[in-house]
């Protein structure tokens, strides 16, 4: 079954929705925002790890539940509903995928149990310019006998402002633009020569820029083959796109529901605004887009669990459509709420701010449209 959840997956979905609604509500998000948390919330992550969600993709032998991507997608969708800034995507999906796909037995045995317990969070450091173009990596890593020395910068590392461990892409050979010659390194936060600049982002989730000035990484912390990092990075980015798309679907759903509610309560000219045909049609069109995007994301999550050979196509499809959806819905949410939606005290603003970050991260609609064309060979 591709599109129908199993009983266990449904239970996880319910649990995640209950948890985020209660413990990671928009009200809670607002309080944290007002307190200047900038997306840092270790307590909530501890609770999520206790629920087992840090280990949804981790093999049982390393302390996880090995429950799969469809399951994790349900949790990501739930946290997307309330815009909760958690390390779930970066750690439980991206970090774990990278280690499972590229890690040695020893690396797995050392790291995965700690991740499952919620003791370590990770962050993927890939982009170096304002736009996502992973093959353009130019940050240099030079082999110096038993170790590599890294020099350069990384920008907009999601979760980078609090992650314990960076999974960082560097160039060990070749030129920017080559997919050959990339290598993944694991670098603890407290490493000499690594400077982490915390960013206060639009969406109040935060992020970081990294500067590496003579950072020495022992060979033991190389993840996967030297020069062959693309073979891990690309599937990891596909997973990142699909997971993020699931989160975006949740955000779109919740913003749509809030708007739908408003259409049914707000009156103008003595009529519910939801009785005006032009708003009815626009709401129906949003609904149509949402239903179709949901199909793409479900198919992509399922393809990951099945190990299908069209994962990359589905990843770009899911991310492109989710970007389009969340853009449309976040704009319509404000327009249909009118003035109140423009005020900081209303939640509309949170959705549009988060939407623009979600859209850009790992490539927006335009990037994935181009990639889809590449993948389909035209």
């Amino acid at each position: 079954m591709t599109f129908v959840l199993t009983e266990e997956q449904n239970m996880l979905k319910e649990a995640a929705r209950d948890f985020t609604a209660e413990q990671l509500s928009l009200k809670y998000f607002r309080e944290k925002r007002n307190a200047g948390a900038n997306g840092k919330d270790p307590e909530s992550w501890n609770s999520m790890a206790e629920m087992g969600w840090a280990g949804v993709l981790i093999p049982e032998e390393f302390g996880g539940s090995e429950f799969g991507y469809v399951g994790l997608g349900q949790v990501l969708e739930a946290q997307g509903r309330t815009l909760a800034p958690t390390p779930l995507l970066q750690t439980a999906l991206i970090g774990v995928s990278a280690i499972v796909l590229g890690g040695s037995d020893e690396q797995k045995a050392t790291l995965l149990p700690k991740i499952a317990e919620g003791k370590i969070t990770t962050a993927l450091a890939v982009d170096e310019t304002a736009h996502h173009t992973p093959a353009n990596t130019s940050l240099k890593a030079v082999a110096t006998g038993g170790a590599f020395t890294l020099e350069g910068k990384k920008t907009f590392v999601a979760n980078g402002h609090f992650a314990d461990l960076f999974i960082l892409v560097a160039r060990t050979s070749g030129e920017p633009g080559d997919t050959n010659g990339l290598t993944l390194f694991m670098i603890p936060r407290e490493t000499d020569g690594l400077t982490v600049t915390e960013l206060n982002t639009l969406d109040y989730h935060g992020a970081a820029n990294l500067t590496l000035d003579g950072v020495v990484v022992p060979n033991a912390d190389v993840l996967g083959p030297v020069d062959g990092g693309w073979a891990i990075l690309e599937p990891v980015l596909d997973r990142a796109c699909i997971g993020l798309a699931a989160e975006m679907l949740g955000s779109s759903e919740a913003a749509f529901e809030m708007t739908h509610e408003y259409l049914q309560t707000r009156k103008q000219f003595g009529q519910l605004i939801g009785s005006f045909q032009s708003l009815q049609h626009r709401a129906a069109i949003m609904f149509s887009e949402m239903e179709q995007t949901r199909s793409c994301i479900a198919a992509a999550l399922n393809a990951l669990d099945q190990g299908s050979d069209d994962i990359s196509e589905l990843a770009s499809l899911a991310k492109a459509r989710a970007s389009k959806l969340v853009h449309l819905v976040s704009n319509e949410t404000i327009q249909m709420h009118g003035g109140i939606g423009m005020t900081d005290e209303h939640d509309s603003g949170f959705y549009i701010k988060r939407a623009r970050v979600q859209e850009a991260l790992y490539g927006g609609e335009g990037y994935h449209r181009e990639r889809y064309a590449d993948l389909l060979g035209f």
Binding site: V4, H260, G274, H281, S295, L376, G377
Partner: protein
């Protein structure tokens, strides 16, 4: 239903397979060609004689309508048996023995609303393809507002007398009988409509084919001038036709939804191939026109998203989940997608996509603008996109009309 779960079904499968092996003629296992499609009826010519044989054999078992009661000529199969039959037909890639509005639309409502005598009279000839039916719904003044129909049906004691006009009557010029919505009470709207059946050879009936902007079409304008109809050919309750009409529209829309528009047109090259052929490629194999490449990717993604949505809806329905929400947007999305695809094809073909007939264009090229034009009707026929969005807004999203 996996094999080996039920011995009776296993036996049914074995029998079915053997029967098909013996009875499905060889040419009926080759891909269907447009001109060999069998619609049945008095004027069916069976261009391929094996089509006739195949229909007779299938009809003799009631397998053109596998789940209908045997009493009325149907196959009397259970759902599970029918599933097996369909699997076996697909296994040998058998053609449909019969295409028919009678099978798809009229039959199901007759089974639900007609009297025993009416069923005995009409259903067997649907099953065996002897009578071909057409549908008399739309009228010139009543398009989206179907219930605004005006075709008058008067009670003349021993018969009904029908006067009026229908439009968009598919194949009215080739059909034998019509199922038709008529007005039996002019003082109310929905509650004044009845559902009647009559022979298209009746005196006073005339069908004129409609030429579309895309060329000839199966549609007709159909005129009724003092048509006399026997009293026992009204189905269901007098003035109770609107309920039947709505049920019938569900069958029509689910037919469209199951496939999407235009997806049946197989054999035509894929959009990326068309674009590459007419626009050319760069050294690294990309479409030479970057602007068009982006838009092609958009269309391809919309296509994929739509197909996945169809698959999701089907799978969820099978699993017994509520799919009304998803299904409600499918016709709207299908129309939009097919319009986007056919428009893109014309644009990609450039000057070669702008021919109408004659020299200078291949057959494929001449089809492209006609397909684009024909696709404009996808958002009109079977309920306009506007009506579709109204329905989504009201029934699915629960938005209310203006009050007062």
């Amino acid at each position: 239903m996996a094999d080996g779960m039920d011995p009776a079904l296993d036996a049914f499968r074995a029998e079915t397979r053997a029967w098909l092996e013996e009875n499905c003629p060889p040419s009926m296992r080759t891909p269907q060609t447009e001109d060999e499609v069998v619609w049945g009826g008095r004027r069916e010519k069976f261009k391929n004689p094996e089509s006739k044989l195949w229909l007779e054999r299938m009809a003799s078992k009631g397998w053109t309508a596998p789940t209908w009661p045997k009493e009325y000529g149907g196959g009397g199969l259970s759902k599970d048996e029918n599933l097996i039959l369909q699997q076996e037909l697909k296994r040998i890639e058998a053609r449909h023995a019969l295409n028919s509005f009678g099978l798809w639309m009229l039959g199901p409502v007759l089974l639900e609303y007609a009297t025993h005598e009416q069923k005995l009279k009409f259903i067997p000839d649907i099953v065996n393809g002897k009578i071909r039916w057409c549908q008399g719904y739309s009228e010139p003044g009543a398009g989206s507002d179907l219930a605004g129909l005006q075709t008058k049906c008067e009670d003349k004691g021993d018969h009904w007398l029908i006067n009026g006009q229908k439009v968009w009557t598919s194949y009215a010029d080739e059909a034998d009988w019509i199922f038709c919505l008529v007005r039996t009470d002019t003082s109310v709207k929905h509650e004044g409509i009845s559902f009647v059946l009559f022979d298209m050879e009746s005196e006073g009936v005339e069908a004129r084919p409609i030429k579309l902007i895309s060329g000839s079409s199966p549609f007709c304008e159909t005129f009724f001038n003092d048509v006399k109809v026997p009293k026992d050919q009204l189905v269901g309750r007098l003035n109770g036709g609107w309920e039947i009409a709505k049920r019938l529209l569900q069958y029509e829309r689910s037919n469209i939804s199951a496939t999407g528009f235009g997806s049946a047109r197989s054999g035509s090259p894929e959009l990326p191939e068309i674009a590459k052929h007419y626009v050319g490629t760069t050294a690294d194999g990309k479409l030479a026109d970057a602007d068009m490449r982006s838009r092609l990717a958009d269309v391809m993604m919309a296509d994929k998203a739509f197909k996945l949505t169809i698959a999701r809806s089907a799978e969820q329905a099978k699993a017994g989940e509520e799919v009304g929400h998803t299904a409600s947007i499918i016709k709207y999305a299908a129309a939009k997608l097919n319009q986007a695809k056919t428009e893109f094809t014309v644009e990609a073909m450039g000057a070669q996509g702008l021919g109408w007939e004659g020299e200078g264009y291949s057959e494929h090229e001449l089809m492209a603008p006609k397909a684009m034009l024909r696709a404009k009707a996808n958002s009109i026929e079977g309920g306009t996109s506007e009506i579709n969005l109204n329905v989504v807004a009201k029934r699915v999203l629960g938005l209310k009309d203006h009050k007062g």
